[in-house]
């Protein structure tokens, strides 16, 4: 029973993107089910786990807590928009090098959230990284490797 669908215009991962969605659909559902961008993961679907973290106008948000229709006019970045073509983003590279993932469900959210941090604060210390990432849950790694990966990028940005 498809409801009335609304046209929404956004900028998605740098490209002007229009989509149709029902007002009741979350941005997470739109990304995954309508646009095929399945890099953004569904974890708790109630705003606790951060697996669906995306950037909305540069701020990190849980896509499960945003309606698709609220994205009208917004600039959205998902995990698919983080790498530069085939060249991994330094955070993605660091997550690999530091083995900062096991099952991987939380990883896109951690990378998007970490990018939001480093975009606004290029050299956060460990406490800041842990505080910032409190809204991203990981049940595999125990967080240390994730924090190490983010700090690695924090430090390397220092070296240019």
């Amino acid at each position: 029973m498809a409801g009335r669908r609304t046209q929404v215009q956004t900028k998605l991962n740098g490209e002007e993107t229009d989509f149709l969605c029902e007002p009741r659909q979350s941005l997470l559902e739109v990304l995954r089910d309508e646009l095929g961008l399945t890099g953004t993961k569904e974890g708790c679907n109630n705003g606790n786990c951060g697996a669906c973290s995306v950037l909305v106008n540069g701020r990190v948000a849980n896509a499960c807590c945003v309606l698709g229709v609220e994205a009208e006019g917004a600039d959205i970045t998902t995990i698919e928009g983080i790498a530069d073509g085939d060249k991994l983003h330094p955070l993605q590279q660091a997550f690999l090098e530091e083995a900062a993932l096991q099952c991987g469900i939380c990883t896109p959210g951690f990378i998007v959230s970490s990018k939001a941090l480093l975009d606004s604060e290029p050299e956060p210390d460990e406490e800041r990284v842990r505080f910032w990432l409190a809204g991203n849950l990981c049940r595999c790694t125990g967080y240390d490797k994730i924090v190490r990966a983010v700090l690695k990028v924090s430090n390397t940005s220092d070296n240019g």
């Binding site: 109630n46 705003g47 948000a61 499960c64 807590c65 945003v66 609220e70 910032w132 990432l133 809204g135």
Partner: protein, 290 residues
């Protein structure tokens, strides 16, 4: 989620009109509670009215009297990134940085947190301590309400049908004053308060006499409470351990908590006392910087 209609009005007049159209409406600010409630069938709203396109509700500013006026749809992150707010109202920063994680703080704000009327909300005790005034609009008029009058019962606020929370106004606290918000949770971050406390102090110029004080406690009753007995224990006294201890006792006496998965009633009474004393000590420190 049930079928809903989504409206994104750009003026308050259009909001009031939509609220009067006979449909079951819910107002949307950050959405971090509302959207979950809709999805989980805990709301029977037919119509969602997004407030984030209304200039009066999405801005914040200091007015000529030095009061901070925060639009009801301004997210926490915009508030706690503002240097003047950090300087003038650190107690707002205390609570705004603790509501959920950054993903929540990007969307959610004071207005929605108040309207949600959770007994354990982290902004309520801080705003009560700061004597915040709520500006509430309807098609015909605007009224003002002290924030401590806004909470009726868990999840129930004082908005009448057709009314919209417009702004949260935090009065200029003046010199020699300090406020602090304190919360206890068993984890480091990302949890709901077992107990929380907001306090404010105003001292004389010499700093040895408390001229005004407010103490508010949360998560220990069906609504956050302004504890007048705690203020009475403080006003006209020297700001010392004995005075603060008496205020802590008054806060503990006012707490009427339940036992639930987050903590026992006895623990919450104890926390009300301890958090009050510690918050007063820190508010006193802050008053010296003003």
């Amino acid at each position: 989620m049930q079928e809903i209609t989504y409206l994104a009005p750009t003026s308050l007049g259009d909001v009031y009109e939509a609220l009067a159209d006979g449909k079951k409406s819910v107002l949307l600010a950050g959405g971090t509670d509302i959207i979950i409630q809709l999805r989980e069938g805990r709301s029977d709203a037919e119509q969602v009215i997004d407030l984030k396109h209304i200039p009066e509700l999405t801005q914040f500013a200091f007015n000529s009297a030095g009061d901070l006026e925060i639009g009801a749809a301004v997210p926490f992150a915009e508030i706690y990134e503002n240097a003047e707010v950090i300087e003038r109202f650190p107690a707002l920063i205390d609570c705004a940085t603790l509501v959920g994680g950054v993903q929540i703080q990007s969307r959610a704000g004071f207005g929605g947190n108040l309207c949600n009327a959770s007994p354990a909300a982290d902004t309520s005790p801080a705003l009560i301590a700061l004597s915040a005034i709520l500006r509430i609009g309807s098609a015909n008029t605007v009224r003002e309400l002290a924030v401590e009058e806004f909470f009726l019962s868990p999840g129930q606020n004082a908005l009448e049908k057709g009314e919209v929370l417009l702004q949260v106004v935090i009065p200029n606290a003046g010199t020699n004053s300090g406020a602090y918000f304190h919360r206890f949770i068993p984890r480091n971050e990302m949890d709901i308060a077992v107990a929380n406390v907001g306090v404010s102090l105003s001292l004389n110029n010499a700093g040895d006499l408390i001229e005004d004080a407010r103490v508010a406690i949360g998560a220990v009753a069906p609504t956050p409470l302004l504890v007048s007995a705690a203020a009475e224990a403080l006003i006209g006294k020297e700001p010392n351990a004995e005075t603060f201890s008496a205020a802590g006792d008054a806060a503990a006496a006012a707490a009427k908590p339940i036992t639930d998965m987050r903590g026992s009633a006895a623990q919450r009474v104890h926390l009300s006392r301890v958090l009050t004393v510690r918050a007063l000590e820190r508010a006193l420190e802050r008053s010296k910087g003003n």
